[in-house]
């Protein structure tokens, strides 16, 4: 694969590029879908593609093609040059240099056993996931789900001498549905799981958590009055309500476009001291773990918010050049797109309290399993419906609640964060704890 990348770079240089980069990926995937309490379809495919980025007098061109034949790569390089000739100049269009220290490969993201994992194995796991959910309780109904096994190789080379290649295996699964009892239909719940190793595949605990949540969402009672109280988010709800807002605000691209709420706040308190946020592609529990980013910069652990204090923004080479800093290894994107700035694995640090302790300390509040509504990533406003909500009074869970609305602002809420659990969950590329906030407005319909 690296030979083809060198070929692409060489061709781009022959056509006139001052700098060139080629990024290729091959992905072998088996996936089985669940629909309406049954297996639906099995899919197996292999996809290879290459993205060629060229710089010509400060102008950028990008062409991507899902064919690794040399003649097509040559055409692609010529097209990238043609695009660069039509693009405006920007002196920050630079490619990263080879790092002086030898870049370290992370371990624990590739399982050799994944090579022999067949579509039939994926079907078995999907059937197991479905069966585990259905056998948990007869009221459980599975609307959709999947089990996917992927082995991916990605490689990057550029004209500054960067040359990298890595392989990873990722198994992931999801399940979505509700519980039905007579005429009552519970809120939908959605759970996911994943691992890099065959031995770590555990569909039954995902199924149990899903089944338990939907069954406990039955028997809803209406809350009489709107109130202000505590909000306890499950990791999935935190992923839906909180994560995107923080990820947007710490992105250097948003900072440079003047839309980050964290502008000018480095070294300042932006959240309660219970909040520590890391972006860490070297944490192999996250499914997005890898050794290098979309433009070949080594990944590392970036502490973004520490005990509520903003420490840094996330950069790729382009935004770093604009601010005169170094890339944090956050160039993201696939072969079909030039690099953007994005998070890798998003982690919120666990604290000492158990979930039970967090619940026992609540005088009046709601445990939210999922949040369905709008979150404005720029200003942090959120409003929507509580899904799978349960009322907590005087330290104990009372009952499921009927369609309660919740609204507020994530940035304000982060200052009111008053509890973070020691238990965490992996949601693809996020590793999140339960999070508790006070002073949140709940409205009944």
């Amino acid at each position: 694969m690296l030979d083809l990348l060198h070929y692409a770079i060489k061709q781009a240089e022959i056509f006139g590029a001052s700098d060139a980069e080629a990024y290729a990926a091959t992905n072998n995937e088996s996936e089985v879908f669940i629909e309406n309490n049954d297996l639906k379809q099995a899919k197996s495919q292999s996809i290879s593609s290459i993205g060629i980025r060229v710089v010509l007098d400060g102008s950028i061109g990008f062409y991507s093609i899902n064919d690794l034949a040399k003649s097509r790569i040559r055409d692609g390089a010529a097209m990238a040059i043609k695009i660069a000739r039509a693009s405006p100049r920007d002196r920050h269009n630079v490619l990263p240099n080879r790092s002086r220290s030898k870049s370290k490969s992370i371990r624990g993201i590739y399982d050799r056993n994944s090579e022999s994992f067949q579509t039939s194995d994926a079907a078995k796991r999907a059937a197991e996931l479905l069966k585990a959910a259905k056998s948990y309780d007869s009221r459980v109904s599975v609307d959709s789900g999947n089990f996917s096994a992927q082995v991916a190789t990605h490689a990057l080379a550029n004209s500054n001498g960067i040359e990298l290649k890595e392989r990873a295996s990722v198994f992931s699964w999801s399940i979505m549905g509700m519980a039905i009892e007579n005429t009552e239909i519970s809120s939908f719940d959605y759970q996911v799981g994943g691992s890099h190793y065959v031995k770590d595949i555990d569909v039954s605990s995902t199924a149990s958590e899903f089944a338990e949540t939907v069954v406990k969402s039955l028997g809803t009672q209406k809350i009489e009055d709107s109130f202000k109280g505590e909000m306890l988010l499950t990791p999935m709800a935190a992923n839906e309500m909180i994560e995107e807002v923080i990820a947007y605000a710490i992105n250097s691209d948003a900072l440079q476009k003047k839309s980050s709420q964290f502008a000018g706040k480095i070294g300042k308190q932006v959240a309660s001291d219970l909040l520590t946020v890391e972006d860490d592609a070297t944490n192999v529990d996250g499914l997005n773990a890898s050794s290098f980013d979309r433009e070949g910069v080594s990944h590392r652990r970036n502490v973004v918010i520490e005990k509520g204090i903003l420490k840094k923004f996330l950069y790729n080479t382009y935004t770093a050049s604009k601010d005169g800093v170094r890339s944090t290894g956050n160039a993201g994107g696939s072969t079909s797109s030039p690099p953007m700035v994005s998070t890798t694995n998003f982690l919120i640090k666990p604290m000492r309290s158990s979930i039970d302790t967090l619940i026992s300390e609540i005088d009046k509040g709601i445990l939210i399993s999922r949040f369905s509504g709008n979150v404005n990533p720029v200003n942090g406003d959120f409003s929507g419906v509580v899904k799978g909500g349960r009322l907590i009074m005087h330290g104990t869970i009372q009952h499921a609640v009927k369609e309660v609305m919740v609204a507020g602002n994530v940035f304000e809420a982060l200052r009111r964060l008053n509890g973070v659990s020691r238990e965490r969950k992996v949601i693809y590329d996020s590793i999140l704890p339960y999070m508790r906030f006070d002073g949140i407005s709940f409205t009944t319909g």
Binding site: L39, S44, Q45, I47, I65, S87, S120, K257
Partner: protein, 472 residues
Amino acid sequence: MMRNGAQVADNLRLLISSSKSATYVEARYQSRVASEVNFINGELERIRVVENAGCGIRVLVDGCWGFSSTSNISNDALKDSLDQAIAAARTLARTKKNKVKGLTESKMIRGTFSTSASSDNLSDINIEQKVQVAKEAEKEARSNKAVKTASCTYRDMLDHKVIINSDGADIEIHDSKPEFSVTAIARKASQSVTAHEGVGVTGGWDDLFKKNNHVEYARIASARAAKLLDARHVSGKKTTVILDPAMVGLLSHEAIGHTVEADFVLSGSVVKDKIGTKVASDLVTLVDSGRSEIATNAGGTIIVDDEGVVAGRTAIIEKGMLKSFLHNRESAMIFGAASTGNARAFQYSDEPLIRMRNTYIEPGVDKLNDMIRETKHGYIIKGARNGQADANGEFMFGAEEVHWIENGEVKELLRGASISGNAFEVLQSVDMVGNEFQYDIGTGYCGKYQPAKVDGGGPYIRCTAIIGGVQE
């Protein structure tokens, strides 16, 4: 870059004729060249051209679906891919409880088609022209002093498809779908208003800029953002509203259309027992069509679906009565209906699913001026923004601008607001339907496991809905 269609078709025919062990085999070759140019605040944010080509093979074996895809379309690679699809289907046969009963009989289409009658060919437009329109329009949007941030995006997709299946479909399709949009954000102190304007069509470059040129779209967006900056907010209430064509399209697609997709109906949609019953006012005829009916160049035009079935006009609601769900051949078999030609796959590597095409309400007889004149108190709702709709037809959509009507006259422009309600109740309340028709959500994509290019629209309609909430 385009492969020879006849050669591809020969390879696929050979493949289909070689597979005797499957109940059904379908091979879809698709080559797509997609371009994107995006400028934000005077800087090039993104430029790319992405080419994807390959063949997706779907089989029905022992009552189970198997799917595989390959970017290599040599005879050997296709055969390998077919074997993989068959093996995948067989692995399900052991565990799947309810086997697929079969596919309904449909007339299988043969021939070569182009989705647009236009002779102007998008592949002749070079990247310089695409860069130029995006750059100039973005600059124009910022020339309005109130506008502090602007962006402009040009995108297009050029598709060449060959679809052959074991039931006799043998089709070659050429499709071209460009789109163009401008966003302007006006700011004053802590106030900020965002306005979008754009267009997405099935057709060529001239079709895209037929109604307005690129600079005019920028002026419309920036003028709206600027004038809304000084507008007041509307107070929330259930009241008479006149929805514009874009909002009618969004409502038809998002809040009604999804509930009648047959796979959704099988999962227990709110309309599952309602065929033949009255679900809307007599004035409402709501249609989903793969052709560009009434007006030209609708963005979701496909002509033939990915199962080889003609993608014609399906009246979902006719004069208020629920008439039809949207089907592929599998769901049509279950319901004892005909396929409506709604099986669509986004790329070669996606399997066909039940998806909408151009979804709209047919025009009536009323003039917009009369609709306003006959409204004692109400609002005109313009500029559909994103929103959400639940399985039961409950929806909440954002609108960019609201015009207050009092005693038959438009009094004042107000800030954007959300509109909500139950879509079926809203359609029951329709009492006037405009006589002018327009498609206006062609820049949109619908998401359901995979994206799909869709469009929608209608005339202005008058109905009752809840208006309220603040949209920045």
